[in-house]
């Protein structure tokens, strides 16, 4: 038996854990609309941080419903998992950074072509360009 097996139920008011919405979700959606406009005009990637906001369960539910799911879904393994999906609005991504124990470290909405965590970064590309040719040393010369 672990701690998780002991059922604890809290009756909450509005705030984390509550099914009611607080108005925060709608404010966030308006912010996303603004960012989307910026990015659609060629502006920089925009990020909306969700973690430190006192979103209620109802707020999160509203965001999930309104944003929907799009064509892309990805799971990245780098310092623990990260889950990414594109919402029904191309260019609006939901990014969940998880710890090695699957706990959410931060959660963000990213507005841009590709989320930062999905991109291959220049430093890593340079390292792989350096490493890549070493595979030819191991290959059978007759196959060349």
């Amino acid at each position: 038996m672990s701690l998780k097996d002991i059922a604890v139920r809290l009756d909450s008011g509005p705030g984390p854990g509550s099914p009611e919405t607080t108005g925060l979700a709608v404010a966030l959606l308006r912010e996303v609309a603004d960012h989307l406009l910026t990015v659609s005009r060629g502006g920089d990637r925009q990020v909306v941080e969700l973690t430190n906001l006192p979103l209620s369960d109802g707020d999160v539910q509203l965001l999930v419903e309104k944003l929907g799911r799009g064509e892309v879904e990805a799971r990245i393994s780098a310092a623990g998992p990260t889950e990414v999906f594109e919402t029904a609005f191309p260019g609006v991504w939901w990014v969940k950074y998880l710890g090695e124990d699957d706990r959410v470290i931060t959660q963000q909405l990213e507005i841009g072509t590709v989320p930062m965590i999905l991109e291959a970064h220049q430093e890593d590309i340079q390292a792989s360009a350096r490493q890549f040719p070493s595979m030819f040393d191991e290959l059978d010369p007759n196959q060349h």
């Binding site: 990637r45 310092a79 623990g80 930062m116 965590i117 970064h121 220049q122």
Partner: protein
């Protein structure tokens, strides 16, 4: 010696840690410090350029709880790397060397990094009778602190004891214990109080020192604002019940079972500045109020002596006007200087994006 010349970015590559992992770490720190998420790439770039930082960590009149807490942090892989990247030149509990060898290690680190090392202190420092109540290797901690502070770039006081005297200074304070900033007044000092302090705060402070070259902006008690600006009450998930007047009056009444507000049971959340309400302890498992106990105010000065953890604030000694005024006067001068530094650095970083 060669390793000392690598930048953090080079060290990451050497250990095969991808930029992606590093970005993720930076995103976590930025989120915990309320640094705008859009600044993460710039922060990562600047952090990757950082060079090895010498750190000397001294344990004075303390219980080792602070160190226990600091060694349990939130994103183990990359975070460990950052902690390994700084060169912890002295920490007597963690290092293998002892006795004369250990003392030699401090002296070498001081010599090689004079004016540049970061001094971390946990525990209070006794002043009474020339500080003889707390002595290591024949030297009083008072003398040790004075000596080490002289060559330090900045000092971080870890835990409530090093910050404000804490347990050691509790009435009747037989050793005349005080916090670091009552002794050292000519260096940038940052306090990370808490009993124990939160590891995430230490990670944030260290990361921003490496990335921006300065301590983060602090409040009137020299606590980093990013973590200590809000009270527990501001961020408490039971706040809605407080606002509705729904309270627990004993630890086993209906209110307690329903998770209502713990104010009548002595919760000090409304006047306590700390980050546990959002970051929680033990890698986000829980925190005191979530487990049904009021906040005892562990990150505030003199929390032991405020006449009982279970007396409601309205009946107790917290938040008296004199106390607040005295604390404000003590924290201003250096705090403002490092605040300006950190703001300037933030501008630099966001401007360079």
């Amino acid at each position: 010696m060669k390793e000392h010349d690598l930048t953090l970015g080079e060290e990451l590559r050497r250990q095969g840690i991808s930029r992606r992992s590093f970005m993720k770490f930076c995103a976590g720190v930025a989120s915990s410090m309320a640094i705008p998420a859009a600044m993460v790439p710039a922060m990562a770039d600047s952090l990757a350029q950082a060079r090895r930082q010498s750190v000397i960590m001294m344990a004075y009149q303390e219980c080792t709880g602070c160190l226990e807490s600091l060694t349990r942090s939130f994103a183990p892989t990359v975070e460990n790397l950052i902690f390994n990247f700084v060169s912890l030149d002295f920490q007597h509990t963690l290092q293998a060397a002892a006795g004369d060898q250990a003392i030699e290690a401090i002296e070498t680190a001081m010599e090689e990094n004079w004016g540049k090392y970061l001094l971390l202190v946990d525990g209070s420092i006794p002043l009474k009778d020339d500080g003889i109540y707390s002595v290591s290797h024949g030297q009083s901690h008072l003398d040790s602190l004075r000596e080490l502070a002289e060559g330090a770039a900045a000092i971080v006081s870890i835990g409530t004891c090093a910050s404000f005297g804490g347990v050691g200074a509790a009435k009747p304070n037989p050793t005349g214990a005080v916090g670091v900033d009552e002794i050292i007044t000519d260096k940038p000092i940052l306090n990370v109080p808490g009993c124990p302090p939160m590891p995430e705060v230490m990670t944030g402070v260290l990361t921003s020192f490496l990335a921006f070259g300065a301590l983060p902006e602090v409040d009137r008690l020299k606590r980093p604002k990013a973590f200590f600006a809000d009270t527990i009450h501001d961020r408490c998930y039971r706040r809605a019940f407080y606002d509705q007047g729904k309270f627990a009056y004993s630890f086993d009444d209906e209110g307690a079972r329903k998770g209502w507000c713990l104010y009548p049971l002595g919760c000090k959340g409304p006047i306590t500045h700390n980050a546990c309400a959002t970051l929680k302890f033990n890698q986000g498992v829980s925190w005191p109020i979530q487990s049904g106990h009021g906040c005892i105010g562990c990150s505030e000065p003199d929390f032991w002596d405020k006449e009982g953890f279970y007396k409601p604030l309205s009946a107790g000694q917290w938040g008296t006007a004199e106390g607040i005024a005295a604390a404000a006067a003590a924290g201003v001068a250096l705090g403002a200087a490092s605040a300006v530094m950190s703001r300037r650095n933030q501008d630099k970083i966001s401007g360079g994006k």
